[in-house]
Assembly symmetry: C2
């Protein structure tokens, strides 16, 4: 899936993560740097294709390119991942069931009590996410 460059770092990061091959590459790099040849092995993709994926990762700042003779070992850079993770932060409360029972209760209750149709609609609708 192709991602349209929204320009901002977070978008670039999430965009880079929107592909299984790139995610696998990042996972591999998490255990240490690796050159293109090594990164290619796990996939049935051409070398240029891998290089292209690496280019996307680099543009997102998730990977750094080093050099060792004619090799260009890639290194993982977690800063962008940290930021992406940070964006999720506020949402985490929804599945970290710390107050699950109560929340769930209130939510379900509220849901059930909402009439199917009403003349006066609540401009400011409430009701938590699923």
């Amino acid at each position: 899936m192709a991602i349209r460059d929204a320009g901002d770092p977070l978008s670039l990061t999430f965009g880079a993560l929107a592909d299984p091959t790139r995610r696998a590459i990042l996972a591999r790099l998490a255990s240490g740097e690796a050159d293109v040849s090594q990164l290619m092995k796990p996939f049935d993709l051409s070398q240029p294709t891998i290089s292209k994926h690496l280019a996307v990762l680099e543009r997102a700042g998730l990977v750094m390119r080093g050099r060792d003779a004619q090799r260009r070992p890639r290194t993982l850079v977690v800063a962008p991942l940290k930021d992406a993770d940070g964006w999720m932060e506020p949402f985490r409360q929804f599945w970290e069931q710390k107050f699950a029972s109560l929340d769930e209760y209130l939510r379900q209750t509220q849901k059930a009590e909402t009439p199917k149709k009403r003349k006066a609609r609540n401009t400011t609708q409430q009701g938590g996410p699923r």
Copy 2:
């Protein structure tokens, strides 16, 4: 930025998050359901454009479409977010400085001791991410 559909759920999710407008919409929905008109307000985008963004979010399963007369209130669905968050899990250790000082020390040391050029290269390169 356009995302190429890699098919898998995680890719769809990350792809959906790869746009500031969509992220803002999700943030808004985190505080309760809202219809298209409400979701439109914060942006200087046409209604069809917002609907398109919502379509992307729906395809990723991040949003559910309800109905109230001619309105189609959207509700946040956090399951996909949770999965995305789960993917990041393994990487979190890199910035949760639990063993920061030691790790940092080992990493820096190792880095410094790596000779610029060597005849026999380590096929299995090591060295943590930045």
